[in-house]
């Protein structure tokens, strides 16, 4: 069977990201997955066990001390060379900032079509996308070149399929043309132990109704009790209650967790754009007419400062 390249998303702290396991699972529907690790020396070694567990028959290790010093260009160059050499059946990347950027450059280098934010993938490379604030389902296909597709996190449940990957080291040279955008500093920000917003199976979000930055503790408390991530509506972010990287909606993140809890969020269309495909939606809002209730599987009309502490207390009691 032909090879399908999966470009690995991983973090130093948590290793292989869930979206990578989703991509490996999707890749098995199109061929035999080969994982491509683009990172510093030793990066592939640390990830190989997990990649094998989810069916990577091969790992291409493009490791270089320099590769992370410049914004995505060196990675796109290595990947383009690999694609030209092995002629895979498809190339999958994560629909995250870097994955999309590498894919963009790859599309131009290879004069190849590109599809982003796929939530499903058929054996013939047809991708399913959900667009226009979750209102429309689209099926698309790359019509020039191979299927070059970025996959939205939390689209499918990863399924293990043990394999023992052979590792092939790739030679990485970073030409001057790929050194134009230099990363001079990476600053880690306190994140705590919460799961990443786009990958979390539970997301608890707060909106304007939360009222102050300090009150977001309530949102965090409930998220922690459920092992979830914290999100915020644009109104809450614009009011300075919570940082922008946690914004859910049109100009923020798109999430698709098993459970989404909206606290004090009215549910403007721009917010719904980012959470409409969640499996189960729960809302607490004091305004019974708030549009968020139109999509909530369970809604509580009431004061979140009363309802949320009681919810937290009741969850603790049941443990």
């Amino acid at each position: 069977m032909s090879e399908v390249l999966v470009v690995v998303e991983a973090t130093r702290e948590f290793g292989v990201k869930k979206v990578t396991l989703e991509m490996l699972t999707l890749a098995r529907g199109l061929g035999t997955p080969s994982a491509v690790v683009l990172g510093g020396p030793g990066a592939a070694e640390a990830l190989s066990a997990k990649l094998g567990e989810y069916g990577a028959a091969k790992i291409y290790a493009a490791e270089s001390a320099e590769i992370d010093d410049y914004l995505v260009s060196p990675k796109a160059t290595v990947l383009a060379e690999l694609v030209t050499r092995v002629q895979p059946a498809a190339v999958l990347l994560a629909s995250a900032q870097e994955g999309k950027e590498i894919a963009a450059r790859l599309a131009v280098k290879l004069d190849n079509g590109i599809l982003t934010d796929a939530v499903a993938l058929d054996a013939d490379g047809t991708a399913t996308q959900v667009v226009f604030a979750g209102s429309t389902i689209v099926k698309s296909k790359v019509t020039r070149g191979l299927p070059l597709v970025t996959v939205r996190p939390n689209s499918i449940t990863p399924e293990p399929a043990a394999a023992t990957p052979a590792v092939e080291q790739l030679t990485v040279s970073v030409p001057a043309a790929d050194k134009l955008a230099r990363v001079v500093n990476r600053v880690a920000e306190q994140k705590g132990s919460r799961p990443e917003l786009t990958e979390a199976s539970v997301v608890v979000s707060g909106g304007r109704g939360v009222g102050t930055a300090d009150n977001f503790k309530l949102v965090e408390e409930l998220a922690d009790l459920l092992g979830g991530a914290v999100g915020a509506s644009r109104a809450a972010v614009d009011s300075g209650y919570y940082p922008h990287q946690f914004q859910v909606g049109q100009t923020g993140k798109t999430v698709s967790p098993q459970l989404y809890i909206a606290l004090g969020i009215s549910g403007a269309i721009q917010h719904r754009a980012g959470m409409q495909t969640s499996k189960t939606i729960v809302a607490v809002n004091k305004d019974g007419e708030a549009p968020i209730f139109e999509l909530a599987d369970f809604g509580v009309v009431g004061d979140l400062f009363k309802v949320v502490p009681q919810t937290a207390e009741e969850i603790r009691k049941r443990r």
Binding site: L71, E101, T136, S140, R186, T311, E314
Partner: protein, 259 residues
């Protein structure tokens, strides 16, 4: 500094948006067409740089006739002039072809700095800035929440999952911005009046050295096969809190096996 801002007209994200049933492209006829919101932040950033360092700000749009409205709106914020790439052959262009056309137009404009929004609210694809940079052989600094200009050196801060990165490049470069970078100004009455007289140059495809077969539906590198409306979510149970709202919420979570 010679700054070009990419502006795209999109259907209003605050209203219902549809794909056409005949050719699977965006239904612009039924939509309220507006400037892509993120592009207003790019315009604001361009104007701030011009105010601090001098230079000229040009709007570059590829789009149908009606995109003229968005170009005038953009000009009313303060840019000096605009270029409108307008050609019937462009309808239905994919991202790869769009980047080819915009790169060809940018090649004629001699920009030191190309500013654009990080994504459009219709496609949300986020690929254009890197595609254009790849074609032009210039740096791409993408997803900026902060941009500093020091002579010919550009430095951005961009948000990542782990924190943020500081990335730097020399001009010429493409910089894409998020809505956290500034607060766009509202056009003044004077600005709106002045915009009517600002030069808008129309560029047909022929002037860019791009063949009609390379763009539009004919030259598209991907195709929408089918589309359908997602069934609207139906609302479930709604209770009014009369002292036991939190408990009822947990009971629901328990039946769904979340607790």
């Amino acid at each position: 500094m010679n700054i070009v801002v990419l502006v795209k007209q999109v259907p209003d994200s605050g209203a219902d948006r549809n794909l056409r049933t005949d050719d699977n492209t965006i239904d612009r006829g039924s939509a309220n067409n507006v400037i892509n919101e993120m592009d207003e932040y790019a315009i604001e950033e361009a104007l701030k740089i011009k105010e601090a360092h001098g230079g000229e700000v040009t709007i570059l749009t590829m789009g149908p006739d009606q995109a003229t409205e968005s170009i005038r709106k953009a000009l009313s914020m303060g840019p000096d002039k605009a270029v409108h790439v307008l050609d019937d052959a462009l309808a239905g262009s994919c991202a790869v072809a769009t980047s080819k056309v915009l790169s060809a137009a940018l090649g004629q404009l001699n920009a030191d700095l190309v500013l654009c929004g990080a994504e459009s609210t219709d496609g949300r694809v986020q690929v254009l800035p890197h595609m254009i940079a790849e074609r032009l052989g210039v740096a791409a600094l993408t997803g900026a929440r902060k941009l500093t200009v020091d002579g010919g050196t550009l430095t951005i801060e961009r948000q990542t999952e782990e924190g943020y990165e500081v990335v730097t490049a020399e001009t010429p470069a493409v910089v894409s911005v998020w809505d956290t970078i500034n607060e766009p100004r509202y056009p003044s009455f004077k600005g709106i009046m002045a915009a009517k007289k600002k030069p808008v140059q129309t560029l047909p495809l022929g002037d860019l050295g791009v063949a009609p077969a390379e763009v539009g539906r004919a030259g598209a590198t991907s195709a929408v096969l089918e589309h359908s409306k997602r069934p609207p979510r139906s609302s479930g149970t709604k209770v009014t809190d009369e002292g036991a709202g939190g408990t009822q919420l947990v009971e629901f979570l328990a039946t769904e096996k979340f607790v």
